[in-house]
Symmetry: C2
Subunit: 373 residues, 2 copies
């Protein structure tokens, strides 16, 4: 050990991280029920914070998991052959256009790591899913935030911020947390003006809940534009959040680069089996979407009766204007055993986000909200 090192240890110099890493904001995941109940000593709490499917998931998922349960000493199929083939068939693309991930957030990280050089820019709405920003910072890229306009993505401002350093643009449709959407003409007008070497990443985590045909759906005619990367997840409408499974649909060459840098066994075996089973149970998917939209209507009707404002939504969640400190409302509801999400960290200080639960859960939420407001 030389003299310099001794000095270091005296001053307890920490292991050095970059400025980018230092500046990363902590993502606050919706509290799991087990943790909340542990902390607050309550039971039978209701969680409407993470936009999960209140109906659970397809019964076929159970069978698929049980079938694989005795060979879990084996590594997963590194390419997810069966699941990828099924997805390709569904969207009329080739399997070489699909990359599956440990949740779609892994695909976000892979895209940032693959295509952002140090200081190169990724545009994204402000606020949006914090993982876009975190992944860009980890990749040593620069996140460039474009504030929403009337709770919607501001395409004009986004185009203004495109420059030579721009490598990718994140879009979310429907938008989380406001529930807003963009239409096909809006998207096409925008995309036309984006340079050919910039990836347009369209996160469609909630697209299964959209019933309006004018809303842009990037997989209706996939791969007509090699800049478009579609992100999809099994965590929401399919009800597989616990398994961790998402995927991207993209140009073959983009996919090849992601395959090159992804961990070889990134998606666990049961997620692959569960995803395949869920994909084949359209009946459960449709039933879920219908039920959830029905429950969204119930919540909206109740809020209307109470004279509480919310943002029009095309998804399974709703952003509500509680007209007081969101953290307070969050904490008050927590004490009544209802977990929702404060929108404070998104910059909406007086708003909370809630997703549709079961009929009983939604009634409990409405009752609790009445008490709290």
């Amino acid at each position: 050990m030389n003299f310099l090192n001794k000095i270091w240890s005296i001053f307890q110099v920490k292991f050095k991280t970059s400025e980018q890493i230092e500046s990363i904001k902590a993502y606050e995941p919706g509290k799991p029920i087990s943790e909340l109940e542990r902390e607050y000593g309550i039971k039978e709490s209701v969680k409407l914070a993470s936009n999960e499917n209140p109906l659970g998931h397809s019964a076929k998922v159970i069978d698929a998991v049980k079938e694989h349960l005795y060979t879990m000493n084996r590594y997963p199929d590194p390419r997810g052959h069966n699941l990828t083939q099924s997805l390709a068939k569904k969207y009329k693309v080739k399997s070489e256009n699909i990359v599956i991930g440990n949740g779609s957030d892994e695909i976000i990280a892979l895209l940032a790591n693959a295509f952002l050089g140090t200081g190169e820019e990724a545009l994204m709405p402000l606020p949006s899913f914090l993982m876009y920003e975190i992944c860009v910072q980890i990749a040593k890229g620069t996140p460039v935030m474009v504030p929403l306009k009337n709770y919607k993505i501001d395409f004009d401002k986004t185009l203004e911020k495109v420059n030579k350093k721009t490598r990718m643009i994140f879009l979310t449709n429907p938008f989380n947390p406001t529930g807003s959407v963009f239409t096909t003409p809006e998207f096409l007008k925008f995309a036309q003006k984006v340079p050919d070497n910039v990836l347009i990443i369209v996160d469609e985590a909630y697209i299964e809940f959209v019933k309006d045909d004018s809303v842009f759906n990037s997989l209706e005619n996939p791969l007509t534009d090699n800049r478009i990367v579609t992100l999809r997840t099994f965590s929401k409408a399919y009800g597989l959040a616990g398994f961790r499974l998402g995927y991207g649909v993209m140009d073959r060459e983009v996919a090849q680069i992601l395959h090159k840098i992804r961990p070889p066994f990134n998606v666990n075996s049961l997620a692959q089996a569960a995803g395949l089973a869920a994909l084949n149970d359209i009946e459960f998917l449709n039933k879920s979407v219908d039920f959830i939209l029905e429950q969204m209507s119930f919540i909206k009707t109740e809020l209307d009766k109470m004279g509480i404002a919310y943002h029009p939504t095309h998804s399974n969640f709703l952003m509500i204007n509680v007209e007081k400190e969101a953290t307070q409302v969050f904490n008050d509801l927590l004490k009544l055993g209802v977990i929702i999400k404060s929108m404070r960290s998104y910059g909406f200080n007086n708003w909370v986000r809630v997703n549709a639960g079961t009929k009983k859960e939604n009634e409990t939420f409405i009752k609790a909200l009445k008490k709290v407001l």
Copy 2:
């Protein structure tokens, strides 16, 4: 679209990746049985390529999974509370010292992303687990390779390559693929000379198979040195490869940084449940290790009889000198339905690696090897 962009599209300029990404080597995972059987049209093949546990996994894992199977619509516990607590208790550390990951390769990636600035250096043995190199390159760091000496990690040469840019050193014990180990005195002598601001990452994926007390085990007295990061996995001795579960034990401040940059739901719910169950079934673990070491003896004895050289090993795998092109031997064995790993990509052109399987599998392998050589 401006003129320059039109030019770009004419010349089909691809989405730009960095030189680091361009230079990443493809990791070749051991072929899954399903893929091999698909490709070669064979059945009942034997896979001894991925150092998996031939006995499967604890029966308690099955029960644990079944118990969680009906709430998989919920996101996983983001902190892995129960599993982390159990690990902390086992190693007599605090849960704040533990980070669980989607396989231990995720912890490798997190460490590289957290602590490597652009061009900063990570030392590692050559050859070694390709994920070290890939993760360092993705983090825009510089991998610095230190060739093995007599099939062992060369501590002297490693120290020679330490400089002001060095941020971390990867060590593997037992070493994959040679099966060599280092002792506690060897490690301590080395660590003493490593600067205080350099992380020493000790990958102990195969440590459960070591029966020799002189071999270094970083969790015997954990956290006495805040530079040491221990990597462990549930994929090998515990037989949970399909679930994807690994973890790191490290200084609290190092762990905090990894928590900050990791995806919030990185470890799926069933992996958390399975890991907890496996951890509590010491009987199965011991039975597995005993069985596997017994089978290693069988393979060695047979190779001795055949006059075939192999490297002394402290693990569940063996590197064999086939004295001819490894790729050829790999392909010939493949045709006989036996999957092993060619060591060509590790620079050992005439060596293959094989792990202990069931008694029947090992007999099949020995028979096939006799035919092929």
